[in-house]
Subunit: 293 residues, 2 copies
């Protein structure tokens, strides 16, 4: 049971977590914090949070659980504002899409990573953003990855795990580096490719026509290019090493395909496409059970 | 009104066209042709076609409208088999995703492109294939691009247009080269990127985990990688010049983004993502009217 849950950044993820925690009846009070007062007021109106402060120092005071749900680029500043005002026993976690950079920010602010800090990342979201897009069911049957550090207390880990399990999510643990590599491949690179493709086409002379003659496949493929640019800029920079690593593999494979097309090497092209289809169909079949979106 | 409609290749597109034509009551009889007799038998059972032949020469005999709905790589062979058996007044069209290669195949078989031949391309489809995936509504509110040649007869053009309009599609016309450039950008390149991404990840050591920790965005982004590999191999080779051209633009822009990430150039990254989001949101708003998938 949480007495006072403080959510820094009441957007899609922070707002959905607040809604889910309230729905599950696991916290007495939810306090929001952030820079955009209109959003925070809206969050109170919608019943997502009970009250708010635009001052993080004020918002975290007395909270026994603090969740950082701001873009990665704002993590260090938020940590710095809360550092002197946290209850000594407060458990702190975050929802950042890259974990190495958050741990580095915590280290920069606190000197060492406190035992009460447990990094986390819910694998959930939509291309929408803002508290109005939040909903209590966002994490149901989704995975939440926690990346505890050697010094993380088992008590803090259990409390963060309990929070996420109350939202209906399945919690798994892995180390920070591994998280960042896996997410670079499966989430960060696809977003970067979608943004780049849409911008490439938008800059062509015939862009109006190009978009006009696109079909449903294009809409699906580019949906993630409607995601929040600031959030994704931060992810790209925060996790750049892992992203650049997997991007290089992609570019190499794309180069091989390009060479094969130039050479009219039908077998190479077919083998690549057939492997991809088999992998994609296998992945869909495997995930049809729990996560169906 | 069509007396005998002959569809060569009764898969998703050919089957859906047959269903739509029957539903609209615009043809007396639909004859299917293809190499896979089990599929053709299934098509008769499903009521998609009235009868079939595995010999194209036989299937086209007496037909006043012939639609080629085979993969691009099979077009020339199909044309060669029908050439001596077409009714002199038969109108011939196709549904290929690239038009230059089809026109070249027609030229190779007939010497010159006959006035009764009108190339076409319905901008519709799903990642599924086969007659069992076909449905009469596939073309409703979709665009069909016809690319008539200077020698195409206005009569043949009107008949092909009438066939597609009866399916509920909107018919537009453009020239062959322009079609191939636009489709390379909006359809062929995205498919090639999705196939390449999925194969890149599938070949990594942690591929099982990578797919396990992916979310809804990845599923949408990679949906088109479940498309038919043979069809897409043929498209990649048939339209390779236009594809390689737009691919080069994409690779250049990706290189710029990579450099910006390495240099920590947050402004470059944000500007690209923001332009992409704006273009994608504009595109969705513009197409929300007629085509909503």
């Amino acid at each position: 049971m949480i007495d006072r849950l403080c959510i820094i950044g009441v957007g899609l993820i922070g707002g959905s977590l607040a809604r889910a925690a309230k729905r599950a009846g696991i916290c007495r009070e939810v306090v929001g914090a952030g820079r955009n007062e209109a959003q925070l007021r809206k969050a109170v109106e919608l019943g997502v949070i009970d009250r708010y402060s635009t001052r993080i120092a004020e918002a975290v005071a007395g909270a026994d659980m603090v969740v950082l749900a701001v873009p990665l680029g704002a993590m260090e500043s938020a940590l710095r504002q809360m550092a002197a005002h946290l209850r000594p026993d407060a458990v702190v976690t975050d929802v950042g899409s890259a974990k190495g950079s958050v741990v580095a920010a915590v280290r920069a602010v606190f000197g060492a990573v406190p035992g009460n800090f447990v990094p986390g990342h819910p694998i959930a979201g939509t291309e929408k953003s803002g508290v109005e897009a939040s909903f209590a069911e966002l994490f149901e049957d989704r995975l939440v990855i926690l990346t505890p550090l050697p010094q993380s207390s088992s008590d803090a880990l259990a409390r963060v795990r309990g929070l996420w399990e109350a939202t209906g999510a399945e919690v798994v643990e892995m180390d920070v580096e591994h998280h960042d590599e896996v997410l670079a491949a499966t989430s960060h690179l696809p977003h970067l490719l979608a943004f780049t493709l849409v911008d490439t086409l938008a800059r062509m002379d015939e862009s109006e026509e190009i978009f006009r003659y696109s079909a449903g496949g294009f809409r699906d493929f580019t949906r993630i290019a409607s995601s929040d640019p600031v959030m994704w800029r931060d992810i790209c920079l925060a996790n750049r090493e892992a992203i650049l690593h997997v991007l290089q593999r992609f570019v190499n494979e794309l180069g091989g395909l390009t060479d094969a097309m130039r050479a009219g090497d039908a077998e190479h092209v077919l083998a690549l496409f057939a492997r991809a289809k088999a992998a994609r169909d296998r992945y869909v079949n495997n995930s049809n059970g729990k996560r169906s979106s």
